[in-house]
């Protein structure tokens, strides 16, 4: 019941976004160009490395291509569903524009996270999914359907986790009132997502699996396809996601309390 209601609200957001996107057509083409360049560059990067090495931290060319497909899908989901919203949170907080969201009888967090869907990135999402399907299709090893389903679920989870971590970097603006929070730091550290986690040695590997869980967004989901025993990876990913979700909720509530006592 509640879910259906939020789905309907999201339907409005989608409609708004698509009608707006039609107005800025050139931007749409630029965005497609930008992401295609980004995808091609990442594929080429690993292709060139495989000209000089047969394996990358135990992964074959085909496996790494699937991994690249995975992280560009996570990136595309982020750009399409979350990025615009996260970008605006700082302004909402600092200019006091949360006011109207707070008086509505729906979750403010839902509104703030989802209201601006980027229809102009939607084609990029389709292209990214295409790349992933292509990577899976050309893979020569065995892939069971069960594993593929888990893999796809974990990619969606990865996108969620990516959003959660991203928002944790912007929420400090409740206290600091800087316009972008720690967002630039997020953009920089997020690049850890673009490399397979097996190249990292501890303690870096453990950091990327826990407190800065960039490896859990695309690399670990891909590993689940190939690892002989992926159970621990799946459970670990779920636990970390739940923890991050709770952390975000907690910080959000604290932040709102500060917002409430500081605004006038």
């Amino acid at each position: 019941m509640n879910l259906a209601r939020y789905a309907r609200l999201y339907g409005h957001f989608l409609r708004f976004s698509f009608s707006k996107a039609l107005e800025f057509r050139v931007d749409f083409y630029f965005r497609v160009g930008m992401d295609v360049a980004y995808y091609a560059m990442n594929l080429a990067f690993f292709k060139i490395i495989f000209l000089h090495s047969k394996y990358l931290a135990g992964w074959t060319d085909g496996q790494v291509t699937i991994f690249v497909g995975a992280f560009i899908v996570v990136d595309a989901i982020h750009m399409t569903v979350f990025a615009n919203n996260i970008f605006q949170i700082g302004d909402l907080i600092n200019k006091g524009d949360l006011d109207y969201y707070l008086v509505r009888p729906v979750s403010t967090f839902f509104f703030v996270s989802f209201r601006d869907f980027a229809a102009n990135s939607f084609l990029n999402l389709i292209i990214a999914v295409g790349v992933l399907i292509w990577a899976l299709a050309r893979y020569t090893g065995a892939l069971g359907w069960a594993r593929i389903s888990v893999f796809l679920l974990l990619i969606l989870n990865g996108a969620l986790l990516h959003f959660l971590v991203a928002i944790l970097f912007i929420l400090p603006t409740f206290w600091t009132h800087s316009r972008r929070g720690l967002q630039p730091l997020f953009w920089q550290t997020a690049r850890f997502m673009e490399r397979p986690h097996s190249i990292f040695t501890s303690p870096m590997r453990w950091i990327l699996l826990t407190i800065l869980p960039f490896s859990l967004m695309a690399s670990v989901p891909s590993a689940v396809l190939f690892e002989p025993r992926p159970g621990l990876l799946i459970v670990g990913t779920a636990v970390v996601t739940v923890l991050f979700f709770s952390a975000v909720q907690w910080v959000w509530r604290k932040g709102l309390a500060v917002y409430a006592s500081a605004s006038s």
Partner: protein
């Protein structure tokens, strides 16, 4: 029963104090100094349904803070707040469904969308049944006269039209409590008048409890029977608008229409004589008209003296302008007031 009720409500902000310049910033990094700033002190008000309480005060007096506390956006530091029996700070959906907030300074509608798209979103946010939604929308759109603007993007509307859309957006769900924070700010006179007329009409029909803040005295005079004057965070007057005059107006205005032209002999003779013994001063003299400012207690005396000694064709007694009185009251250097409720 009061719909909105506060008791000894206080709010203090902590602002962080920083010395100017680079050195100040450096010091603030190590140790921040905080200043307690009191925004509201012991505010107790009540508003019942069908009533519009006018909240009057200078900039920074605490009007907006009070409205935000009542809307659940800001939490109070101490005291009790109850809106429809809820504590607004808990922001329960049940309460939020019955409340509307309109801020003239801040848009709630999305810039790039036509108003009607926003209204549809609000329909789903407030879960308004379709029939009721259609009825409400029709009524609101008609009484504000914006039928033709519904499908135009908000950013292409005039300020007045935009404000009307904001009002519709806020009232679609027939709230029982409405907060209007400067709803007419920046609008031209025609739009102001249309909005005032609409608010009265809406009140007659739905009888919500309303709180209105405005800098325009005309808004206050025409919409509110009751006002609360807030000064530096304290309520200094809470009562009927008309009583403000009785209580704080010290003068009345006497207008005289002379039978003949106002000659020097009359001015220096009868008129000067008359004013010598009484507390009255000449505000304005024209061809054959004189306006006198007279202390309230002396009005009868002055009037009868005038009638006896000067040949006049007409005499009228007016109250001092209410807006002027209130403005004097809320100014920092304004007249002294006593703190008890108006009698």
């Amino acid at each position: 029963m009061a719909v909105i009720q506060t008791k000894n409500l206080s709010k203090t902000f902590r602002v962080h104090k920083k010395a100017a310049g680079f050195k100040g910033s450096l010091k603030a990094l190590v140790r921040r100094e905080w200043l307690e700033k009191s925004a509201l002190q012991n505010v107790s008000i009540e508003v019942s349904s069908g009533e519009i309480l006018g909240l009057v005060g200078a900039n920074g007096a605490g009007k907006t803070t009070l409205v935000k506390i009542l809307a659940g956006i800001v939490c109070a530091s101490s005291g009790d707040v109850s809106v429809l029996g809820h504590n607004p700070w808990q922001r329960s959906n049940e309460l939020r469904r019955q409340v509307a907030l309109i801020m003239g300074q801040k848009a709630q509608l999305w810039w790039d969308l036509p108003a009607e798209d926003c209204f549809l979103l609000l329909r789903d946010i407030y879960q308004i049944p379709h029939n009721q939604y259609r009825q409400n929308l029709e009524f609101l759109v008609e009484s504000l006269g914006v039928q033709d603007q519904l499908n135009i993007q908000i950013r292409r509307l005039s300020l007045g039209e935009r404000m009307k859309m904001e009002l519709i957006a806020a009232l679609l769900h027939t709230p029982k409590v409405v907060y209007l924070d400067e709803p007419t700010i920046g609008l031209d006179l025609t739009a102001q008048r249309a909005i005032r007329k609409f608010i009265l009409e809406y009140r007659k029909l739905h009888k919500p409890a309303m709180i209105l803040t405005s800098h325009y005295m005309e808004d206050i005079e025409q919409l509110c029977e009751r006002i609360a004057i807030i000064k530096e965070g304290k309520i200094v007057y809470d009562g009927e608008l008309s009583r403000v005059v009785n209580k704080y107006a010290q003068h009345k205005i006497l207008s005289l229409e002379m039978a003949g032209p106002l000659t020097d002999s009359i001015r220096q003779g009868e008129l000067a004589n008359l004013l010598k013994n009484l507390r009255a001063e000449v505000l304005l003299e024209e061809q054959n008209r004189v306006r006198l400012k007279v202390a309230r207690s002396d009005v009868a005396q002055v009037a009868s003296a005038v009638l006896q000694k000067i040949a006049i064709t007409d005499l009228s007694i007016e109250e001092e302008d209410i807006g002027n009185i209130i403005e004097k009251l809320i100014r920092r250097d304004g007249v002294k007031y006593d703190s008890g409720p108006a009698s």
